[in-house]
Structure formats: C-alpha cells, structure tokens
C-alpha cells in the first residue's frame, strides 16, 4: 500500500529525515517508536503534506500513486489520514458540518454522489457508537473546549467517518488516561480491516498492548535503525534507546 524509498526532508534548512525506507502492506499495523527528536512526527507530517517540510530526496507511493506530487487535500482524498498529535481548535466550524464537507469532497473526488442528510446522519450515529464518541461533542465547534482526551477521540471519530486506507496515528496515546486509551484502542481495533493499514507513532509500549502491531520500527536520527516484531517494543521498554544509539554510527552531534 505505502512505499517509502530513501526519504529525506528538511525543515527550515535543517535535515530531519535522512533516508527512510518503509513498506506498509494492506491489513498491517506498523508501530514507529524512537526517542524525542528522532523524526517520528516529522515523518507523519511529511506524509500528510505539511507545507513547512521540504522533501529533498526520495519517493513516497500510495498504491502506485506519487504522494509527493499531491496537495494535502489530494492525499486525504486518496486515503491518507493523519490523526494529529495536537488537534487544532477551530471555533465557529461545527464538527458535523466539517465532516459533511470533508466527506462530500472525498466522495466527489471518487465520483460518488454526496450522502443524503439521512444517510449522513445514520453513518454519524453508527461511527459515534463504534468509537464511543459523545453525540454532544459531535455537534459542538470543532475541538473547541474539548479536553485532551476528547480531542484524540474526535480524531478517531473522524478517521471512522472518512474510512481512509492509510491511517497514521501521531502519538494519539499521549495525554490519554487508561479509559480513554482503551476506548481509542478499541475503536482502532474495530476499524482494522484487510483493505486498510495503520501506522502508530508512539513513545510507549503501553498502546501496543491494546493495538498489537505486525511490525515495530525504531526511528533514530532521521532513519529507521531497527525493525522487528512486537517483542522489539518490549525490549525498548526495558532497555530504553541507548543500546540502539550505541549500535548505530551517528554523524557528530546530530540529535537534539
């Protein structure tokens, strides 16, 4: 589904991604872990098309289409979804109106007619239940006054509504209490399917107890330095990242 080849990217002239290679197939869940400043969130941002990143080298393909040529909205319509680490509050834009606009633009892109009001309502109800998202929140302004946990749950609700192919969760577990973590994880587990894939960016092994990954990658200094099974996450939890840093030859003082 997703193929990343030798991806390099800069922000403000500073190289953050230094040659990433990654293959994610349909039906898989990949976890990307790594110390602070290793480039995890940058990778998510580059995939979603955040404009302050400059890709200097490499390729990104989604089902045979060149992602790097696309605007953020085109990537979304092609099926890339980024659950934000810090979802923005947008007072005055209603959550529901926003989702309706997004969904109809995505459907239009795929030459599908917009959902009728009734169909949309039905879908909304169904997905709200699926991810245990409070109907009251759905009718409020987008993320306005939401708690940290409510914002993250709203990301998962949007994900459920838009049914993307490639789901990138950028530290969705950070700031969640145990109950919220369980709800978010249950939502993701219900949404896992043979025709979609998840990339979980996380600091903690805890999330991976709820959502079991097929592959765990360690990102360090802008590169994937180790990949393995879910046991790798446990090992990281136990040993930290230092042993990997020692194993990896690093350019002088290139971490933050």
């Amino acid at each position: 589904m997703l193929t990343i080849k030798n991806l390099h990217a800069n922000i403000d002239g500073k190289e953050i991604l230094k040659g990433i290679d990654l293959q994610v197939n349909a039906g898989e869940v990949h976890a990307i872990m790594g110390p602070n400043g290793s480039g995890k969130s940058s990778l998510a941002s580059v995939l979603a098309g955040r404009e302050n990143y400059e890709v200097t080298e490499g390729e990104v393909w989604l089902d045979g289409k060149n992602v790097l040529d696309m605007k953020p909205e085109e990537r979304a319509r092609e099926g890339i979804f980024l659950a934000f680490q810090y979802p923005v509050e947008i007072p005055g834009v209603s959550n529901i109106n926003f989702l309706k606009t997004a969904l109809s633009e995505i459907r239009e892109y795929h030459n599908l007619p917009p959902l009728t009001a009734k169909e949309f309502l039905k879908l909304t109800k169904e997905k709200q239940q699926l991810v245990e998202f409070d109907a009251k929140l759905a009718n409020r302004s987008l993320n306005e006054g939401f708690s940290g946990g409510e914002k993250k749950r709203n990301e998962i609700f949007q994900l459920a509504m838009l049914e993307p192919k490639l789901n990138i969760l950028d530290e969705t577990d950070s700031g969640l209490d145990i109950d919220a973590l369980r709800i978010v994880s249950n939502g993701v587990n219900k949404l896992r399917a043979a025709n979609n894939a998840f990339v979980l960016i996380t600091h903690y092994q805890r999330l991976l107890e709820y959502i079991v990954p097929d592959v765990v990658h360690v990102l360090y200094d802008g590169k994937i330095v180790k990949s393995g099974t879910k046991e790798l996450a446990l090992e990281l939890e136990e040993r930290g990242y230092d042993w990997l840093k020692e194993e990896t030859p690093v350019h002088a003082s290139s971490t933050q």
Partner: protein, 446 residues
C-alpha cells in the same frame, strides 16, 4: 478652508443650493426649516467635503469618490427592474412587512405595511415643517460637526417617517428597501426618521441597492432614530452591494430611559465605498445597547465603520463587537468611540474589534477610542489584527477539504461570533449564506 476639498462638485452644490433655496421657499418651508437649511449649508460651505486632514477621515479619502459629474436631480426610473430588485433583496423564508423607497421616496404601491394601530408610515416630506421633527434634528444631528450631515440637512427633500405606536409589538419584521436608479451617475440625499414609542417593540431590516450597474450612485443618507422609554428596537442593516455604488450613511440613535437598541450591520463585498457612521446618545438611565458589525472587504473596496456611543446617564450598558475580513487590495477602517460622561456612573461598556487579513495587500486601520470621565464604571476594549492560522488551514485540508473551501470555512467561523448573535433565524441563515456566496475563490486565496 484648509480642509476644503476643492472639487467642482462642491462648486456645483453651492450653485444648486441657491436654486434649491428658491424651491424650498416655493413649497412653503417654515422659517425654522429654511433657517436650519441655510445654517447647515453655511457649515458645509465652510468645511467642504471631509478631507484626510480630519481625524475622522484620516484613512478614508472621499475625493476619488466625488470625481464624477453626479446628477443631483436624478431621473429615469426603470420601473420594470424595480420588482426584480425587490425580489432580490427579500430575505428567503422570512415573512415581513415591506416598505419600498425608490430614489428616497416611498412607493406605497410596492409596499406592504402594518396596520396603522401598530405603525404609521408616511413620506418624510409630510412632516418636515413639523416642530417635533425640526426640534429633533436640531438637537441630535450633529450638523455642526459633520459636514456630510450638514450637506444632507441643506438639501434633503424626502425619505420615510416610521412611527411605532405606544405599547405596540410588531408581529413581524419591517423590511425597508431603498432602491436607487438613474439614467446618469447620480447623487442622492435621503433623510429618514424612525420613532419607537414607549413600551413598543419592533424589528427593522434595512437594505439598499443601486439598480443600474452601468451608472454610479453616490448616496449621502441620514437616518435618525428615537427610541422612547422602555421601547426596544432591533435594527439590521444588510449591505450587499455592487461596484459603482458609493454609500455614506449617518445613523443617529437617541435612546431614552430603559430603552434597548440592538444594531446589526453586515457589509459584504461589493460597493466601492461604504462609510457607516453610527452614533448613539444614551439620553436616559438604565438603557441597553448592542452593536454587532461584520465587514467583508474585497477587490479595491473601502469599508469604514465609525461608531460612537455617548454614555451620558448612570447605569447604562453598551456592548459592541465588530469583526472584519479584508481580502485582495481591500481596505477597512474601524473607529469605535465610547464616551462616558462624569455623571454616567455604573456604566458597563465593552468593545471588541477583530480583523482578519487575507492578503498581503489588504489593509485595516482600527482605532478603539475610550474617553471616560466617571470613576465607577466597567469599561473594556480590545482590538486584534491577524491572519489565518496555518495550522487550522492544514488541519481542514488534511481531511480532504480543498484549500478554497477550507478558507471559506475559516472566514465563516471567524464571522460566527457575530452571526450567532442574530436572533432572527432566517436573517442569520441569510447572512451566513451571503458570506459564503460572496467570498469568491480568488479572494480567499492569499
């Protein structure tokens, strides 16, 4: 005479006044009216059109808008287009009474008015010699300080006079449509008067339009409002114009004890020039005033809102929120003055002005101005000028929403603080829909 704008228009008006003077004598103008007009014209003659050397006009240069040989006796009403224009100005889904004026004069044949036990409506020319009218405009119009009001006072011949009867509650809003049409570029100076008597309640929606796209209209209108004791007026002005229209509005509100006045002024992109002067005199205790403004400015347009609230008595509340979105090479001016006299203790006065600039060449000049002479008051003001949050834009786009649609959503969201205050659901939806449809794709793109 340093502030005099030397234009041929000024000279033509001076000539015209002599003729007009003859005319008013012919139609048996009272001595008081004649004296008022002479007085007003001598003020205009001395001051001339406002120039950018005056503080209130620093950022709004009128001279470029006075450049045509405006016809001061416009002729050629295009009757066929009137009905179409009326239909265009109506608010979908809203049942209203309707008062239509063409070139500043009431057209009863196109109007649908409330019964006379609720509201009386008559041409202003019927009452221009009445002492209650002359007393009111002599006391309230600021003829002495505002050259445009003086000019209007010297020349006005007609307009509407709407009086809401004591204790009556209007069962549906009154929509007042001002239509202007002329064969040539034309100058209009209507004068209007609204009185809401004791314990009455009414909602008035005003809209103005120039009907002919090919001729330029310049309108210098003055509206006086008198809100009597314990009365409540909700007053909307929805300005959705076309280019070739230049509007100078002066609205003066006289609020008596325990009265309430809610004003909503929405200016959408379109007219070359809109200058709204809204002055409120709180002439009694325990009044309540809400001013909500929204201005969207695009292309080369200039929209200028000058508001002034005079707190003259104790225990009055005023609350003002104006928000603006400026696109392209548009320019906006906001000047909000709140004056609290020494006697006006226990005043609550709040003012907020927020502006969103959507292009590198958009301009806004914002000036909150508080003058407080009492010592037991709560007053605040705030003013911001900013741009789109790029993070919000990216968030919306990352969900598949095009950049243009995302920008429109964010403009709507910015305007929402104002539109949500409109109680009348049909008006609220209409304004929101106007915002969305009037934002061209080109304008919202930075």
């Amino acid at each position: 005479m340093a502030t005099q704008v030397a234009t041929s228009f000024y000279n033509r008006l001076a000539d015209e006044f002599e003729t007009k003077h003859q005319f008013t004598q012919d139609t048996a103008a009272s001595d008081r009216l004649t004296q008022l007009r002479n007085n007003a014209f001598s003020i205009f003659r001395a001051k001339g059109f406002p120039s950018i050397k005056e503080e209130d006009w620093r950022f709004t240069n009128l001279v470029p808008f006075l450049d045509l040989s405006f016809d001061v006796h416009p002729a050629g009403i295009d009757t066929d287009s009137l009905q179409q224009a009326i239909n265009e100005q109506k608010i979908p889904g809203l049942d209203t009474y309707q008062l239509v004026l063409v070139n500043g004069s009431i057209r009863m044949d196109l109007s649908d008015l409330p019964t006379e036990d609720l509201v009386t409506v008559q041409p202003l020319r019927n009452i221009i010699n009445e002492s209650f009218f002359i007393d009111h405009i002599s006391n309230n119009s600021h003829v002495g300080v505002n050259a445009l009001v003086a000019l209007n006072t010297a020349f006005f011949s007609d307009g509407y006079f709407v009086e809401v009867k004591k204790n009556s509650v209007l069962d549906k809003p009154l929509l007042i449509l001002h239509l202007y049409t002329s064969d040539k570029d034309a100058f209009f100076q209507p004068r209007h008067f609204i009185v809401v008597n004791r314990n009455a309640k009414a909602e008035i929606i005003e809209r103005s339009a120039g009907i002919k796209d090919e001729t330029v209209t310049l309108t210098n209108s003055v509206l006086e409002l008198l809100i009597q004791e314990n009365a409540h007026l909700v007053h909307h002005t929805i300005q959705s114009h076309n280019n070739n229209e230049r509007w100078l509005h002066y609205n003066h509100v006289d609020q008596q004890r325990s009265s309430r006045y809610d004003n909503f002024t929405c200016t959408l992109p379109g007219a070359d020039l809109v200058r709204n002067n809204l002055e409120i005199s709180l002439n009694g205790t325990a009044t309540e005033t809400h001013l909500y403004g929204l201005y969207l400015v695009a292309d080369h347009q200039l929209t200028d809102n000058h508001t002034a609230i005079q707190h003259l008595h104790p225990s009055c509340q005023s609350n003002e929120l104006y928000k603006g979105v400026i696109m392209d090479t548009g320019k906006a001016v906001f000047n909000g003055k709140v004056f609290v006299a020494q006697d006006a203790q226990q005043t609550n006065a709040y003012q907020q002005n927020n502006n969103l600039l959507l292009s590198d060449k958009a301009q806004v000049y914002a000036k909150p101005q508080l003058e407080i002479f009492a010592d037991d008051v709560k007053c605040s003001h705030g003013c911001t000028i900013g741009q789109f949050n790029p993070e919000s834009l990216f968030y919306l786009r990352s969900r598949g929403i095009s950049e243009t649609a995302a920008r429109k959503l964010l403009v709507e969201a910015f305007a929402f603080d104002v539109t949500e205050k409109i109680d009348n659901e049909a008006v609220k939806q209409y304004v929101q829909q106007l915002i969305y449809s009037k934002l061209s794709s080109a304008s919202v793109r930075a």
